[in-house]
Assembly symmetry: C2
Homo-oligomer: 326 residues x 2
Amino acid sequence: MILATKVFFTSFVFGFILFPYFIKLLKKISKDGQPIRSCGPESHLITKKNVPPMGGIIILTSSLLPILLWVQLTPEILLLILITLFFALLGFIDDYLKLKTNHYRGLSAKTKILIQFIVALVGVFILKLYSAECFTKTSLFKGVIIDFGYLYVPFAAFVIVGSSNAVNLTDGLDGLAATQVITSFAFLGLIAYITQADMNITLFCIAFIGAILSFLWFNTHPAKIFMGDVGSLSVGAALGLTSVLIKREMLFAVIGIIFVIETLSVIIQISYFKYTKFKYGEGKRVFLMAPMHHHFEKKGWSENVIVMKFWIISIICSVFTITFLL
Amino acid sequence: MILATKVFFTSFVFGFILFPYFIKLLKKISKDGQPIRSCGPESHLITKKNVPPMGGIIILTSSLLPILLWVQLTPEILLLILITLFFALLGFIDDYLKLKTNHYRGLSAKTKILIQFIVALVGVFILKLYSAECFTKTSLFKGVIIDFGYLYVPFAAFVIVGSSNAVNLTDGLDGLAATQVITSFAFLGLIAYITQADMNITLFCIAFIGAILSFLWFNTHPAKIFMGDVGSLSVGAALGLTSVLIKREMLFAVIGIIFVIETLSVIIQISYFKYTKFKYGEGKRVFLMAPMHHHFEKKGWSENVIVMKFWIISIICSVFTITFLL
C-alpha cells in the first residue's frame, strides 16, 4: 500500500514539476507546434496551433523513474520497459520529423506498423522462452481459458500493436487519450492485483497513472501540451503488453472499449468508402468524420463533453468487466 | 462485490434513463430556468440561462432506489436517508421559490442554516441514543483518537451542516460539484470498507456515485441540467453524515479539500471586506471573486480547466489521505 502510493506520488510530482519547464523548452525550439492532421476538423487548425507535442517524453520519464527505483525488475517488467521505450522511440522519430519538416506525413503508416509488429513479435517470443508451458493459454471471460498454441505469439503481438495504434488514433482531443489511458491502467492494474498475477505489474500501472494525471493537468482543454506519437504509441503498447502479461487481452477490449470503437470507426469509414467507390464510382461515408470523436465534434458536441462522456462510458464498462467478466 | 456492482449499475442506469425525461419536463414547467446568482460572473447570466435546476431530485431518486432495495436498513442507514431527504426538502423549497418567483433570494441564509443545524443536532442526538459509549470519540489522523464528550453532538451537527453548505457553494460551475462529490463518496466509501466500519455505508456511497455519474453525463459543460439546492444541500449533508458515521470527520476535510477551500474563500472574502470597510471606510477584496472557482474564472481559466484541475487536486489529496492519514 505504502509502496504503491510512493510510486504514484513520485511519478505525479515529478511530472507536475517537469511539464512547465518542458512546455517552455518546446515552445522555444518550435515556434509553430505540431502540424495538425489536415484531415481533422477545420477548427482544430486554428485552436490547436502552437501547442507543443512530445509530452510523452515527460510521461515516460516520470513514470519510469519510480519503476526503476522501486519496482522489482522481473523479466516481465523489463520487457514492459523495453517495449514501451521502443515504441516511444518510433513515435519520437515521427514527432521529430513532423516538427522539423513541418509537413504532417512522418513515416508511412504501413512501414510503421510493420516495424512495430516485428518488434512486438520478438518481444513476446523472448517472453515465451522465459515462461511456463501455459504461456500460450489466455482467459476469455469468467475464467474460460483457451489455448492459442503457436498462434499465441502473433496474437499477443497483434494486441500490442493494435493497442498502440488505437491509443494513437484516440489521441485527437484534449484530454481524451489521457483520461482513457488512466482508466485502462487503473483497471488492468486492479485486475493484476485481484488475480494476484503480479504485484509489480500493478505498480507499473500506478506509475503511469500518476504521470498521466500530471500530464492531464496541462492537457485539459485548452491544452498546453500534447502527448504526441512518442506518448500515445508507447503508452498504448504498454497497455497492450500489460493485458498480455496478465492474460486478460479480451477483457482489455471491454475496458478499452473507446479505443476499440475509435479504431473500428476508422476501419469502417475507410472500408466503406473504398467499397462504395469501387461499386458505385463514388465514395460514401458512414460517419461524418473518423475517428469517432471527430464524428461527434461535427455533430456539434463540444470537446470536453465528448471527453467526459467517453470517460464515463469507459468507467462503466470497466466496472462491468471486473465484476461480471473477470 | 456483486452486490456493490448491482447497487452501482441500478443507480447509474436509473439516473441515465430518467434524466432526459426530467430535463424535458422541467423545461416545459419553467421557460426561464433557474435565475443565476446575480453575484456570479457576468458571462454566466447568458450561458447558464435556461438550464433547468433540481437535477438533485433524480440523483436522490436513483440512488435511494437501490439503497431501499438492497442495503440493510440499519439505524445508521435510516438516519442517512432521513437527513438526506430533509436537506433535500429544504433545498427543494428554496429551488421552488426561486423558480416560481423568478427572484434569486429564497429563504434567508441565516434561517436556513439555523433550521439545518437543529435538524442535524436532533439526528445526531438520536443516533447517540442508539450507539455505544464510544460514540463521542473520533479519529484524528493515523488512529489518534480524541473524545469530544458532550461537544461531540454539536460538532457532528456542525460537520453535517458545514458539508451541506460547502457543497452548495462549490456547485457553481458545470460538473464541479458532481466530480468533487464523486471523489468524496468514493474515498469515504473506501475508508468505510478498509476500516470495516460498516459495509452498508460503502453501499450507500456507491449508490450515490452511480447516480451522480449519470448526472455528470448531462451536467458536463455546457450543462443540460443543474443539481440545484435540492441536490447540493442533500448530497453535502449525506457526505457529512457519512464522515460522522465512520468517525473520520477530520479526514473528510482533506478528501473534500476543495469544499473546504471554497467555503474558506467565501468566509475570508466577506470578513476581509467587512473588516476593511469598518477600518478604512472602503471594503477591499482578497480574491477577484468568491467562491474560489469564480476567482480562477476571472483570471481567465476556462470552466472545464477549473473542474479538471480541482478534480485532480481532490484525487491527489484523497490518495494521500487513505495512505498516510488513515
